[in-house]
Each structure stands twice: as structure tokens, then as C-alpha cells.
Symmetry: C2
């Protein structure tokens, strides 16, 4: 990765006297203003405003430390909350432009003003630093803990970072949970969070859970934060028209932050993920917290175009990134998700043991999909349709009893089932210019995965796999740990860095929500960490889902959402009665609004053949970009974006909307002047509707040039896409 430092000016040093005078730092454009001060108890507080409007009222900062039994061995007990004095304040400015390995833009500007406040807690003789970085689109703040005589090891019992909001904002939120982000997304006023949660936590007699709409639904692993707990990134909109987004950046060696709402005062406070004994983080100085971020704008599109989260991460640490590449893939997956086949090989065994069960002597169940013949069919399809890789799930032994048993030795990640010829299939794929994509479901037995990881990556190298989809379904082992705790966050990162040594790209499902680490480790090409397309085969996701996720889940990194289900009625080919909650064209539009360098064409080859003309968009589309222009956007309502394909002059345009439909005019002002483009438009038909008539679409072609305008009408739950190819 090339990083261009275009400007780096240390503007000023200012050593402030002790006292409680507020210190201020503004964004480069002056619109975002952060004020820092100590309150009467010496507690650090800040305020945040945008264009003169308050975003965060005085909000406290600090940390509660655990009372550890080894306190006498140097672990500290006094909280880092009060009794501070400012001993130093340094401000500076930074401006660089860096080149991401993949993403929305060819280059990214990282431009901020910084203020680092050094605080001394007299009673315990300890020093911490609170660092603010203020961007035109918001700010990040973090705690830093220098190595010092009285602060070497400490245990965080809770972080007490507040975001004191100005009112009862609209919120696009997810129930706060230490183990899953797959609850259905919610849209409500903040004041309604408690009653919505309560509806599930204390259901009225006879109330039937609504798996698509309820804030809390069954998941194989769930641990709620509180009756008003929410996940980040949390997208808010104030009544005075500000879009506010709260998240975190660079969560490394720390547990993931949730937000606990004081709904009397509309104050959000950090709620970290506990470990098995109820502690949040184990710290050794010198160290720092992740960045706590507040993005703010009066234009919703800024939420989507901003690289604030990435900018707050460290530059790329992988020297040679030539092996990291965009990947369009299909896979032996949707068949099983829908229930039309199985991951496991035999129905004979109620449980199996690695290294003991002899699968060659078991009776095949006949529904195991990861078999050589079926995989060859997917390889043929991928090769013929411009797809790079074929994911195969259920290729390795252990699926007979993998889920929900809290089983330790669940998979070895190297032993194929007897009907999966790993060598022949990789050879066949390579002969057709396609690669297989590896699958490592861990069943959340993280220690088992770590034991086998090196051998598993070696096997991938041996057969020519260069990407792995990993999974963390179910309760974590080490038992008592949560998916989003410090231990697991370190585990996920360890997987990424170990994989990088093997030149392997990682796409971790059920792992913690991303916080921009892909800037530092761009082989983290995707994550799930939200309710994916699979739910369309279970209890469904509402049509607005994919016009919320880009505002929330995608802040920290791309999602492997696995769209492209063109046969939206699953009952046409399986016993699954569900229908996808978009139009067919809406499925195509998801690729444009849910950007990322890893994109699955999730549907079956035979379904794509059925809709081959619409599938042409998937064949053609780029998934890595030199530029992105958001045409319009509103959380939960619509997003329209034009993107320029990496290294080409071609553009791809897409719009996606919620159940209300949407109209938008695409102005081709982004095209090169004096050049003609062949534009193929994939649109919902006039009478299309996600629920009643999803597969009605119209494909038209026209030549367009800079300045042309096309008015698009998106059906309820629909959208549109265009390929705009330079002639």
C-alpha cells in the first residue's frame, strides 16, 4: 500500500496551566467544534457542535477499574474518572492522502485537527491522555495510558464514555447484544427503545414473536446488554436535521463497545463486552482505547461517503498487498440455507469424533451438497459467468453435530468428506481459471480453531485457495467469553494476521462488527456481523434493511451480505415457503449500495439461467472502485450511488429503496465530457412490488453522455441498476 503524506504540519504546542478552562479544537472547515473541560470534580467532559448546533451536550469521559484480588501486585483499583487536572494540551493538524488497497475511492484524504489533553490524577499519581481528532464529518476521541510508575497493569470494569444527546432523536438501531448482530434492525425514536425491547423481554400473554420485526429474536447465541442497550454503529437523526452516527474505530486488544441509553436524559454511555468473569478489558501500559467516533452532517450522504472510521485506523501493515484482490463468487451455500440440502454427510450418527469416526464407512445421506459433482457444476457456472471463486460449505468432516453442543473438538479444517475430492476439484477449478473459496466454520470453538489454524492455512496454500470464509456460530469456547469481548477480538485479529502470512484473505462471519481495521489489514476483505441474506430464508428482513446497513454496519468495513437471489420465491424450487423482501432488480441494487471487494452471487446456477438477462449485470459489474458519488440518500428510505470501476472508465449506478418506493433522477454529470457510454438500465417494471410482483423488470439500453439525466422509478422494495460502459 502506498501512503502519500501530502502535508503534515505540527501547528502549535500549548502547555496549559492547571484549571478548568475549556479547550477547543475545530475541524479543518470549522464546522465541527469540540470543547474539552474538567467539571467541578475534575471529571473530563467534552461537547460537540456542528455548524453551531449542539450535537453532544457536556458528556463525561472516564473508566471504572476492576477491584482485582491481585491489587497488591500492582493492579490498580482507583477509578480513572475524577480528580484530574490538565497538565498539558497539545494541538496539531494532519493532512495526508492514502491509497486504499480496495474500496470506494482511489485515494482517501485523512485531514484533521488534533487536541491531546494530558490529565494527571493527583490522588493516585497517574497520567492519562485524551486525544481528539476532529474532521469535517465528525470526531474521534480515545484514551491513552502511558507507561508509568503507578499505571502498568489495570483491568477495566467499565468504560464511561458519554454521548449526551440534545433530544429524542430518530434512531436506526439494533438491540445491544454481546453475541449477535443478527437481530432485526429497528427504526424509532430513542424514547421508544425501552418499550420495544420490553415487548420481547416481557411479552404480553399470548403474544407471538415476530421474527422479522421484533428487536430481539432467537439466535444460537445471544446475550443482551440491557433493556435500553444498542449496538454501534448507531445512526441518529435530530429534529433539527442533523445526521449523527456513533461508532468506534480501531478496536484492537479491547472489547467491543455498545451503547446504553439513559432514556430520561437521552444520554448514551459506553457499555463494553464482559469476559467470563465480568471484566471488560485487561490493559498493559503503554496502551490506548479504540477511538469513539461521532460523525455528523446535515447531509445524509456524508454518512456514506466518509472515511472517518478508516482514517482513525493505522496505515496498512501488510507490505506486499499484491495478492489481495476483489472477488466475485458463487457457492454451494444457498441450497443448504434454504433447506434443499445439508452440510453434513451422513444421517447415521448422532455424534461424531474427529480422528475416530470413519466417514468412509458411513452411509451417505444423499443430500450432502458439497459433493464433487455438484461443486463441478458451480465451478463450470463460475467460469462461464465471470465469477472468480466458488465457496463450498460442508466440505470437511464434523457437520453431523457441529451446532449448539458447545463441542470443543468440532472441526479439524483439513479432512474432506469422502465425496469431496479436494485435489481434483481445485485442479479442475484452476484449469478453468476459477479458484475454490475455503470455508472454516469454527462453531465458536475458538481454541480448537487456533490449534488447527496453521495446518488449515497450510492446506489452503497447498491446494491454491487464497480466501477463507470463517464462521462463529453458537456460544464461544472459551466458555463464558462473548463474541465481542477482548479475547475474541484478539482472536479474530490473530486469524487475520496469521492468514496474511499465508497470503490468505479473510471473511469472518459472526465475528465482531468491523471498526475500520481493513485499512491496516486489507486482507480482511469482508465480515458478516449483521443480518445477512440468509434471513430471507428464515424469518425475513424488511425491505428497508439494505438502506439502513450502509449507514450503520458498513461504517467499519464491508459486509458479505450475499445478495443476488434473483429467484425471490424460494418455494419455486424448494420446500422453503419464504420470499425475499425485495424485487428482483432490488437484489441487483444491493451490490451497488452495499459496497465491498467481496461479493457473492448467492443464487443457484439454474436460477441465474432462468433470469440470464438480469444476471448479466452481475456478470458485468465491478466490485472495486476509483470513485463513488452518492446521488441521494436517507437512512432507511433510499440510497442512490454512481461508482466508477477501478482502473477503467466504466461506471455502475444503483438505487435501492424501502417499502415505499422511490423516484430519483440520475444526472450523468460525473461522466467524462465528450465521451459516449453504453448504458444498460435494469429497472423494476411499472407494476413491480417486492411482495406481490417482485420479478417484473425491464432492461433497456441507451447511449448516454455527460449531462444527460434519467429519471428512475423504484418499486416498493425495489431499486434499479445501470452499467455505463465507456465506448
Amino acid at each position: 500500500m502506498k501512503t502519500l503524506f501530502s502535508l503534515l504540519i505540527l501547528l502549535a504546542f500549548a502547555c496549559m496551566p492547571l484549571g478548568m478552562k475549556a479547550q477547543e479544537v475545530k475541524s479543518p472547515d470549522g464546522n465541527v467544534v469540540v470543547n474539552f473541560s474538567l467539571d467541578s470534580k475534575g471529571c473530563p467532559t467534552y461537547t460537540l457542535s456542528y455548524k453551531g448546533k449542539t450535537v453532544c451536550k457536556p458528556s463525561k469521559l472516564g473508566l471504572t477499574l476492576a477491584k482485582d484480588k491481585h491489587a497488591n501486585a500492582g493492579v490498580h483499583e482507583t477509578d480513572l474518572k475524577e480528580g484530574f487536572a490538565v497538565v498539558d494540551t497539545r494541538t496539531s493538524s494532519f493532512d495526508e492522502t492514502w491509497t486504499p488497497v480496495w474500496g470506494q475511492y482511489k485515494q482517501v484524504r485523512n485531514h484533521y485537527n488534533e487536541m491531546a489533553v494530558t490529565l494527571h490524577q493527583t490522588s493516585a499519581d497517574r497520567t492519562i491522555i485524551i486525544r481528539f481528532r476532529v474532521y469535517d464529518e465528525g470526531m474521534g476521541l480515545r484514551y491513552e495510558f502511558p507507561q508509568q510508575k503507578n499505571l502498568n497493569y489495570f483491568i477495566i470494569k467499565q468504560e464511561n464514555t458519554q454521548f449526551a444527546l440534545t433530544g429524542d432523536h430518530m434512531a436506526w438501531w439494533l438491540a445491544g447484544d454481546y453475541d449477535t448482530q443478527e437481530h432485526p434492525g429497528q427504526t424509532s425514536r430513542l424514547s421508544e427503545v425501552r418499550s420495544r425491547m420490553d415487548m420481547c423481554l416481557n411479552p404480553a400473554p399470548g403474544r407471538k414473536p415476530d421474527g422479522m420485526c421484533d428487536p430481539v429474536t432467537g439466535n444460537s447465541s445471544t446475550s443482551l446488554v440491557s433493556p435500553t442497550g444498542m449496538q454501534t454503529s448507531l445512526q441518529l437523526k435530530s429534529d433539527d436535521g442533523l445526521y449523527i452516527n456513533i461508532h468506534e474505530a480501531a478496536c484492537v486488544d479491547y472489547s467491543t463497545m455498545h451503547l446504553d441509553l439513559d432514556d430520561k436524559n437521552m444520554v448514551l454511555e459506553s457499555a463494553l463486552t464482559p469476559d467470563a468473569v465480568g471484566n471488560m478489558c485487561y490493559m498493559q501500559t503503554p496502551c490506548k482505547s479504540p477511538w469513539r467516533t461521532v460523525m455528523v452532517s446535515d447531509d445524509a450522504r456524508t454518512m456514506l461517503s466518509s472515511y472517518l472510521i478508516y482514517n482513525l485506523n493505522e496505515p496498512c501493515k501488510i507490505e506486499d498487498t499484491s495478492w489481495i484482490h476483489p472477488t466475485k463468487y458463487n457457492g454451494v451455500w444457498w441450497e443448504m440455507i434454504v433447506g434443499h440440502g445439508n452440510w453434513h454427510y451422513t444421517n447415521d450418527l448422532p455424534s461424531v469424533r474427529l480422528g475416530e469416526t470413519d466417514f468412509s464407512k458411513c452411509k451417505p445421506n444423499g443430500t450432502h451438497r458439497a459433493n464433487t459433482k455438484e461443486v463441478m457444476r458451480y465451478i463450470d457456472f463460475a467460469a462461464a459467468n465471470n465469477l472468480d471463486q466458488v465457496l463450498v460449505e460442508g466440505w470437511n468432516v464434523g457437520w453431523e453435530d457441529w451446532a449448539n453442543m458447545w463441542k470443543f473438538d468440532v472441526f479439524d479444517f483439513v479432512t474432506p468428506y469422502p465425496d469431496f475430492d479436494i485435489k481434483a476439484l481445485n485442479d479442475y477449478a484452476h484449469s478453468k481459471g476459477v479458484k475454490l473459496m475455503m470455508h472454516h466454520e469454527t462453531s465458536s470453538s475458538a481454541i480448537n480453531y487456533e490449534r488447527h489454524m496453521e495446518a488449515a492455512y497450510n492446506l489452503m496454500n497447498e491446494y491454491g485457495y487464497d480466501a477463507v470464509k470463517s464462521g462463529y456460530v453458537g456460544d464461544i469456547i472459551p466458555r463464558g467469553e462473548h463474541h465481542y469481548g477482548q479475547f475474541m477480538n484478539n482472536h479474530y485479529l490473530r486469524c487475520i494476521t496469521e492468514a496474511a502470512k499465508h497470503k490468505i484473505m479473510v471473511n469472518a462471519h459472526e465475528a465482531t462488527r468491523p471498526t475500520g481495521l481493513a485499512r491496516t489489514y486489507p486482507n480482511l476483505v469482508g465480515n458478516e456481523s449483521a443480518r445477512g441474506t440468509e434471513y430471507e430464508a428464515f424469518s425475513g428482513s424488511k425491505p428497508d434493511h439494505t438502506v439502513v446497513l450502509p449507514f450503520t454496519r458498513l461504517q467499519g468495513g464491508p459486509m458479505d451480505y450475499t445478495p443476488g437471489v434473483l429467484e425471490t420465491d424460494l418455494s419455486t424450487w424448494s420446500n422453503n415457503p419464504h420470499k425475499v423482501h425485495t424485487t428482483l432488480v432490488g437484489q441487483l441494487a444491493v451490490y451497488m449500495v452495499m459496497w465491498g471487494p467481496l461479493q457473492m452471487a448467492a443464487d443457484l446456477p439454474e436460477n441465474y439461467e432462468k433470469y440470464s438477462d438480469a444476471f448479466q449485470f452481475i456478470r458485468d459489474m465491478a466490485i472495486d472502485w476509483d470513485d463513488s458519488r452518492y446521488i441521494d440518500a436517507e437512512p432507511g428510505a433510499y440510497i442512490t450511488v454512481a461508482r466508477k470501476a477501478k482502473g477503467t472508465d466504466n461506471w455502475f449506478v444503483g438505487g435501492k429503496c424501502n417499502e415505499d418506493g422511490h423516484k430519483v433522477t440520475v444526472n450523468f454529470d460525473f461522466l467524462d465530457a465528450g465521451r459516449k457510454y453504453e448504458c444498460t438500465i435494469y429497472a423494476d417494471a411499472k407494476d413491480a412490488h417486492y411482495a406481490t410482483n417482485p420479478k417484473a423488470y425491464v432492461i433497456t439500453k441507451k447511449t448516454v453522455k455527460k449531462g444527460d439525466k434519467i429519471k428512475m422509478v423504484e418499486a416498493p422494495g425495489g431499486g434499479f441498476v445501470m452499467s455505463v460502459m465507456a465506448k
Copy 2:
């Protein structure tokens, strides 16, 4: 390992009708009788008697299962305690003689009668088997769980195995603790356990803890089982003269058992070690519990000579055992334990980070003992004095902040400090016919150790180490787990089996107490798992300690007790004010009563030079045996034993006693008739006393022959040893 099956007779099959009739199985000599029956609620019970005397009154058997949230996924909730019917009873007999790789005897007879009772629980349609093996010296029983439709995965919340005693026996006990066995040993009636524990748990105002005598003392990691909880092996003596010992055998994939005393009824019940969420064991059928063992005899010596625990373990699983050998060693260790030097290299850093801290740039503290010069001195001494290996602790980076910080990445086990030349030292040792012994302190960060283990073992292979002392000081990581839980028990075994692949012998300190696994994995050459000699440099151990341990701790396997501290007054060479609580000769005697293939000569070279004539016994002594004859024994009072050195005609005799002193006549009836032996006698001097005159000893030589008798007088806290060399 060669196993000789001399006899294997399946005596009888007996399929019993449903019902509550008692079923009986006797030991081969008829002295031990076990009766099994179901009580009126269908709860399995057993009784045990010896020569007509009751040992265990009707005692219940069964398991309480956890109520798991994934019950609907096949995890069962109904307890395995009541509602059983007997559907099958099979009795058989077994007699084999096997050859241990090392131990007290050249060959071991494994002779028992067995009864396997198959029980069906109608309500849940589940079947379990309770298997009894009855030996002349006691019995073992275990639970077996066949794979079946309604029992595949289950979680044990508690095991409810009872040992209903006949009265208020004398007990040699340790406070029940999930994390340490280093509390001081206790001798009392069972009825006194509660008040002794209470003395520590609820101390009287102003009471000063007694670190040598109290049942509970400070340890870097301690988690008490209950106010009447005790460890196994528990040695008891009834008023009618029976010696009874309760322990377990073959604890594999299960958590370690403690004993909870109902002191109204004198009933002991199993108390397993919980995991981080309070569950005891995660089970997948087919599977089994460890054996629960009750040894019984009217001769205390039987407790010491019995191989019942080993016999209940599986035969050796290591095909080639030629690389496993007895090892006499010294080490760079006692200096640091006493406080005369440090494990760590620099005092400059309050904390360090693997891979980041550059020790070559740190200022050495000058007290780091694992330096090349010092280690060479130990190598020279070992080579000159018939010692096989030199342990070096503190050789690797990370000791600056290793303890009590719950630090995850604490050691890498491969990077030496700058002053430890690993290549040169190994080369030098090998040139002198000596090996270095590796040291892997894990600081209980088990996951970190597993991450580095393969590289660490490879390093050992590279430099020619073939034995490792490992350590588990402090609280376990994964946090919330205990030293004796199922996870850690599996970890310890994983270390042993992985080490075996590298032909490495393992001596794990602070690991769970052994249960005879060394029969199956004889590269487990030692464990600590009790209060070792190091405590003589801290708060002390009472003189009876080493005449209790052979009855208790040693039942499951040898202990790396690290005796041989001939300079019993530590203040003569250090600032440590403590004195060892034995006479000098008592230190030599420990080698004879605490048998094991790994024995340390713990004292400093200069101290051995000071007592070179007494040290001659350590130079000469064998540590692996073809035969052992216990001359007399009484728990906590005295043990006298004669042992025949493996593969020779030489004998070594030793006696050790408590603070009361002891007199014993050694009858040389074990010698070969018609042969003369040169006998060197190391005796306490007449006025010797462990407290007032410990270093008074007399060395005499005489020629002995079969039938000779020598009367020995052991001083308070003293003993004697003899080398009896065939002429």
C-alpha cells in the same frame, strides 16, 4: 512398553432381572467386598467392606445435569440420579502383569474382579453402566455413558458419588481448592475439618495466620471448594484399624474431583471443579467418568505399595519409550527461590512486551541467575557428580512482569535473555555428558502456551533438550477456568501427548494432581501438585509433610519435590531467615520415601561441596527400581523402605519420620543369599534434631549380608539412608 497378559478369564455373564436385589463382587482374595443395589427410588448405591468390616455404608451414585439453554438441541436436563432399573449385570475377572517404563517395581500385577451393572432410566429412556473393579487393596468404580438415541451430549452440573464412612476417622487432608494443592497438610479427625477451615475463613480478631500450619494460606491462585471441602487423595484411618484412601484414577476429559464432607453423617461426596460458567464437565457419548477409588487395608504399607491407581489406567499408548529415562538433576533455581537472585534480567522496566521489548538495550540487574557463567558452573557440577541434567529457570524473556497480572502474552518460550547463550550452553553441557533441562513457566496463560508450544518443543529438539519442567503459577487464562477443571486437564494432557511426539519428558508444576496417567503416558515423569520444598524458603512445611505425601499425593504419580537441601539453614548463605524442617539426613531420606524417576538435587554446588561426604549418597543413589519393600509405615509418622536399583543388585534403604523421631530395625532379608554388600549408612547423630541441630550426622560403612539386622534411630524430623552395593 511390554505388557504381559498372563491371564484373562471372562468368568461369567449374568443377566439380572429388573429389581433391587443386591449384587456382589469380591476381590480375588475375598477380603474386599462390594455390594451394588438400587434404593427404593431407583437410585444406585453401593457398600464396601474389608475383611468383614464396613468401609463404606450404603453410598449413593449419580450425576446432576446442567439445565442448558440449548436443551432443545439434544442436550439433556433430567438428572442421572434416580428412576433406574437394572437391565444387565456382567461379572468377569482379569489378571495381567505389565512392565512399567519406570517405577517402584519391575513388573506390576493388575488383578481384579469386575462387575458392570447396566441401568436403564425409564422416564428418559437412557442407559448408563456403572463398572466396579475390585482389587485385594480396594476398588474402583466409574460411570459409563454409551452412545444412544437419547444421550449424546450432556453437561454435568455435579457428580454425586458418595463415600459414606463408618465414623469420625482420622484424616490426613488438604483444604479443597480448585486451584492449588499447596496449602499445608492437616491431620485431624473428620469432625474437626470444619472448625479448622473456619479458623482461616472467619479468623478471630487479631489472629495471625500461620503459614505453616493453617489449612488455608495465601497462594497466587486459590478457590476453596466449601467449608468442609478436601482434596484427594484423602488418607483416612478408622478406629478399628483400617487405612482407607480415596482418590481417582484416569482423569481424562473430565474435571478433577474433590470431596465435600457432610460432617453430621460422615459422608463424603464428589465435588467436581467448575468451569467459567459453573458447569463441571461437557460430555459426548460414548464416554466415561474417571475411576473413583477406595483403597483399604489393615496394613499402612499397602497404601504405599499398591498400584491400584495405575492399574485402573489404560496401558501405555507410546509405542517407543526408549527415550524416556530416569533423570537426576540440579538447577539454577534454589538461589532464586531463596531470594538470592532473580529470574528476570532487568529492573528498568515495569512491564515488558514480547517481540517489542529489546532486552539487549536494557540494563542488566546483575542478579539474573540464568546467565551463561552461572549455568556453566552448574553444568560442571552436574558432570562431576553423576547428575544427568541441569534445570535453568529464568532463561527466557518475560520474567519482569510474569506473575499475578493475568497477562496473556507472557512468554514465548523460545527467546533467551541476552546473557543466556542457549547454543553455547547446550553444546558445553553435551560435551560433558550432561543435558540442560528446559523450563516453560506459563503463568497459567494456557492459551498463550498452546500458541507457542510447537515452536517451543521444536527449539528443544534443535538444542537437544529432552525434558521440560512446566509451571502454572497464578490465575488461569482462559479467565474463569480453574487449574483442575476439564479444560485445563485436557490442556495438561495435550502438552504431554504433543511433547511425546517430540520425545520430550514432562514435569508439570501447579498442574492437576496426577491420577495414574503416567502408566498410559510415561513421559509424564513428574508433577508438583503439592507443597514442595520451595515452601521451606517461604513459610515452611512441618516435619511430618514428607511422611504424609507418599500416602496421599504420590498415589497418582511421582512428585518433583526437589529435596536435597543439605544446607538446612538458609541464612548461612542468603538473607533468607528460614530453616528447612528436617535434619540434613532427613533430606537424603526424602529421596527414598518420595519415589519417582525424576529427582532434583536442589541445593547449590557450594553447599554440596560443604557436605560432600553426605552428598555422596545423592551421587550414588538410584531413582528407578526393580523392587520396593516397605519395612514399616504409618501416615504422618514414619516410612521405611528398601528399594532395589533397576537393572542392578544394589539396594538403597531409607527411613523418614515426623517430629517425634522413630526407631526401626532394618532386616536385610531382601538381599541375595550368599552375597556380600558394602553398606554405607547415613544417620542422624545422636543429638540431631531438625530444629536445633539438623546438620549433625554420622556416616559409617559396614559389610552386610542377607539376614543381618541394623537398628536405626531417626532424630525428630530426621531419618536415615543406606546404600547397599553388591560386592
